[in-house]
């Protein structure tokens, strides 16, 4: 069950792997929430994690930027190797801050900082020590363009971010994550708080930024997974049930559990 999808991915020719989850288990205190997950994340592709509530998809996503380190009692077992340098980002001697410098995240609800639009996007750059005004301006503009927001906000960069609509705020959060040019971008149900039109624009955006960054997205909307992703992993109760090309998962899933979930018989 675990080795199979890996073999499948390895067989795909000329696919560069951005990250590889290797036999990852995760514990909230005594509760084993992820059970021996193995999964490749391909470079410049969108990988979707689907499954019913509580299946561990968000938990898995939050392993990638060591979010679990913020709370006591959490424990990882196994590895997530990040390429090209093949470093295990879960290793104790790897600083979570360094990991977060390379792997960005967009959250479920838009969560801009209580700062201006400009300062929101520039925040990550300033954290990295960038002070040069011209360079900051350039990078902010580039990130906002990348998030398809520049035309809407270029004349009001000094306004507080809360004045924007929900969809705009979420695109601002994407711009904030893009500004630091991460190698991998995590999306945790990025459209669940948005209306269909805003959702459409975020999905379009995900398709576009795939050129620059590898993407891992958690969604409980199967249609969304089918629309935006190249690969899909179906999880249930902390286990990876099936992983493969999205087309295959949705058209002819190998396992009955996946089929039941996808056809709506369950979940």
């Amino acid at each position: 069950m675990v080795t199979e999808p890996l073999a499948q991915a390895a067989a795909a020719p000329a696919a560069a792997i951005k990250a590889e989850v290797r036999d990852l288990s995760f514990y909230y205190g005594d509760f084993k929430s992820l059970k021996g997950i193995s999964l490749p994340i391909e470079e410049h592709k969108v990988t979707a994690l689907i499954g019913p509530s509580g299946c561990g998809k968000s938990t898995l996503l939050r392993c990638f930027n060591r979010m679990h380190d913020l709370y006591p009692g959490n424990r990882y077992e196994g590895a997530i190797n990040l390429f090209p340098d093949n470093v295990n980002i879960l290793a104790r001697d790897v600083d979570p801050i360094e990991v977060r410098m390379r792997i960005g995240m967009v959250f479920q609800k838009p969560n801009p900082f209580p700062k201006s639009i400009y300062d929101n996007v520039a925040y990550g750059l300033r954290v990295r020590g960038l002070r040069n005004k011209t360079e900051l301006d350039d990078r902010v503009e580039k990130a906002l363009k990348g998030a398809a927001l520049w035309e809407e906000v270029k004349n009001r960069l000094d306004e507080v971010a809360f004045a924007m609509s929900g969809g705009q705020q979420q695109r601002l959060c994407i711009a904030r994550a893009l500004a630091t040019e991460p190698e991998l971008l995590l999306f945790d149900e990025p459209t669940s708080a948005l209306d269909p039109i805003a959702t459409g624009s975020i999905e379009e955006l995900i398709q576009e930024i795939r050129e620059q960054v590898s993407i891992l997205i958690v969604t409980h909307n199967m249609q969304q997974a089918a629309r935006v992703s190249d690969y899909t992993a179906y999880m249930y109760l902390g286990e990876l049930i099936e992983f493969g090309k999205t087309d295959n998962i949705f058209v002819k899933p190998q396992r009955k559990e996946t089929e039941d979930y996808i056809t709506g018989r369950f979940g």
Partner: protein, 280 residues
Amino acid sequence: MQLYSRRVWTNRIGIALSMGAMLFGLLALLWILWTLFYNGFSALSWEFFTEDTPAPGSEGGGLRNAIVGSLMIVGMTTLVSTPIGILAGIYLAEFGTTSKFAAMTRFVTDIMLSAPSIVIGLFVYALMVATLGGFSGWAGSVALSLIAVPVVVRTTENMLLLVPTALREAAFAVGAPRWQVSLKVTLRAVKAGVVTGILLAIARVTGETAPLLFTALNNQFYSTDMSQPMGNLPVVIFQFAMSPYENWVNLAWGGALLIALFVLGVNILARVLFRKKSTD
């Protein structure tokens, strides 16, 4: 139907009782304000702010030395207790959520919050006045700071704990270290609440008398030297109100009105600030 009418009546009785309690509280407050205005308003004159406290038996006089002394002592208290209180509050909310040391700090802070102010006055008397050889404005500020710091600590902590996890995680997710997340994101998000806490602490210490009796004492003359005994409104009110001289008693009423108005103003300012923030 019977059940329904019983509920209606229970509701009416409940509302009547709570309205009654509110009226009782409001009445007490209005009564105090009325008495202060009635007795104190006539004392508020130009001389009240420009002349110093009169000697026994002399005519007229004002409270300039006491007003300036109170402003200096309370101002110094604010300068000292704001940074200490905010930093300790940040520590409790952001760094020490689970540590034993934080739990202990929280416990001690709670005790300090409810400690009788006269005990704090005596403590500072023993610590500074008895050893350093005299009453001083500094000792007064230290005593008031001991009262103000716990207020600022707890409001800062409580405000920071209200910051949604999502905001904190967002800052961590872009790679910010914890101290930056605290100072530049979460503290900023609750700025209005923290300022409110500081204002409430100022309001709280402005009327404190007991700690100043043992520390700043009083000074009949105008002085801005904080290493000397210092005039201040609460102690002057205490002395003058109980004196046999009519002009002293009048000044005491005026001083009481002034403090009440100041505290009321600070409280209203705190509310306005807080409300403005929550509608942003």
